[in-house]
């Protein structure tokens, strides 16, 4: 099939543009609908992979260390991110525990795993086995990752409970805050250029660079 590697189509309005090279940090925007077409990459593969590994550590910490501790009349209780989602599984609203666990723990975990896999191979200039599948899954997962919502939820819970019980934030809350920043840095960016740097297609050069 004939391909046009020098062109790009706006995903939001279908307008066709010729690719131009961008300065670092710049973004190409669609003239018609103002959506971002592509961005020049600011981070190299090594840096990206390092942040992905850090995010993996933060995710483990947020699920091992308690995020909140409370005490009431000498009794104590504490929960990790995982336990708080699991609490939805009891009672009438049980089915909602599944999407809650997916959006706060499973999806971020999968994003980190897939990115780590793809980037580890990209460092050597190779395409990882299952690269196309991994990229498709990453694009599908992106809207369902909600660590930042969980973080706000934890803060609101702390304030809500501080009226009646004694509340102390646990170590897990810092891990969750870190994870929120890291996931935004690694997974919310334009991943299209990974196709370019790992390319073996003779027609396509480095995308958007």
């Amino acid at each position: 099939m004939k391909t046009f590697p020098h062109l790009i189509v706006c995903e939001h309005c279908d307008t066709v543009y010729r690719r131009v090279s961008l300065e670092s940090g710049d973004a190409a925007r669609c003239v018609d609908c103002a959506a971002t077409l592509y961005r020049a990459n600011r981070m190299n593969v090594d840096g990206w992979l390092a942040l992905t590994v850090t995010a993996a550590i933060a995710l483990v910490m947020a699920n091992v260390c308690p995020v909140i501790r409370i005490s009431l009349h000498g009794q104590h209780n504490e929960v990790t991110l995982w336990q708080s989602v699991a609490a939805l599984g009891h009672g009438a609203a049980a089915p909602i525990a599944v999407p809650a666990a997916l959006s706060v723990i499973v999806v971020p975990g999968l994003q980190i795993l897939l990115l780590g896999w793809v980037l580890a191979f990209a460092r050597a200039g190779h395409r990882a086995p299952g690269f196309a599948m991994a990229m498709k899954v990453l694009a599908t997962l992106r809207p369902w990752s909600m660590v930042e919502v969980a973080m706000l939820g934890i803060l609101i819970s702390i304030i809500k409970l501080s009226n009646v019980v004694q509340v102390t934030p646990g170590d897990g809350v810092w891990a969750t805050a870190g994870l929120m920043v890291l996931i935004t840095l690694i997974a919310s960016r334009d991943i299209h250029w990974l196709w370019g740097i790992t390319d073996n297609h003779p027609l396509r050069g480095r995308q958007g660079v």
Partner: protein, 209 residues
């Protein structure tokens, strides 16, 4: 009318996974795959308007029990009550926590209702091939993509609070059925937005030419 060309006019398709622009041969073969990542190429998301309407209407129906039924049971220090979302907001307001009351009100009332209105507007105008305010409608679509998932906040607050407060006789908080309907509404409206194809906003232009 701008001098810029759309992919359909040029007879090309942009792959939604890897971004490669390919010649549109769907007319002859009925089915084509991207030569780079083997994704099925499509001019528009399949059955976009029908699916988006279905998810939107289901979401609106779920929003009624989500507000009418209690989302949380609170039994603390002798007093016990079932709370709906709005009662939660009001109790925060009465306690003087105006900021938190506002955050929860935005996440559980303003965001969902804005989403219903915007998605409904986008669907109706796209069905009528309207050329009215296309750029603004494209921006509205990106806005709901950006803020839509923050409504999950309520679900995660109930999860955290219910997981923490487990002191048998002294205090107990449990999730109630309302939170299931609320969470399901958030997911359904997200699916509606994901199924709507923003390129349909601009297709009105071609119809009128």
């Amino acid at each position: 009318m701008s001098g810029r060309l759309r992919a359909r006019q040029l007879g090309v398709i942009g792959c939604h996974v890897c971004g490669l622009v390919c010649k549109d041969r769907l007319g002859e073969r009925g089915h084509a795959r991207c030569p780079c990542c083997h994704t099925t190429l499509r001019r528009r998301r399949p059955d976009s308007i029908g699916r988006a309407w279905a998810f939107l209407l289901a979401g609106m129906v779920f929003y009624i029990p989500a507000n009418a039924l209690p989302v949380m049971y609170t039994g603390l220090l002798g007093s016990s009550s079932d709370n709906t979302i709005l009662q939660g907001v009001i109790s925060f307001w009465k306690d003087g926590s105006y900021g938190i009351a506002l955050v929860i009100f935005v996440a559980s009332v303003v965001v969902p209702c804005t989403k219903f209105l915007i998605l409904g507007l986008l669907l109706v105008t796209s069905q009528r091939h309207s050329r009215w305010a296309m750029r603004e409608r494209a921006r509205l679509y990106r806005l709901i993509e950006l803020v839509g998932y923050w409504s999950m906040l309520d679900v995660l607050v109930v999860a955290t609070v219910a997981a923490l407060v487990k002191f048998q006789a002294l205090g107990d908080i449990e999730p109630r059925i309302g939170i299931f309907f609320f969470g399901a509404m958030v997911i359904l409206t997200m699916l509606s937005a994901l199924n709507f194809d923003p390129r349909l906003i601009w297709d009105g232009m071609a119809t009128h030419e």
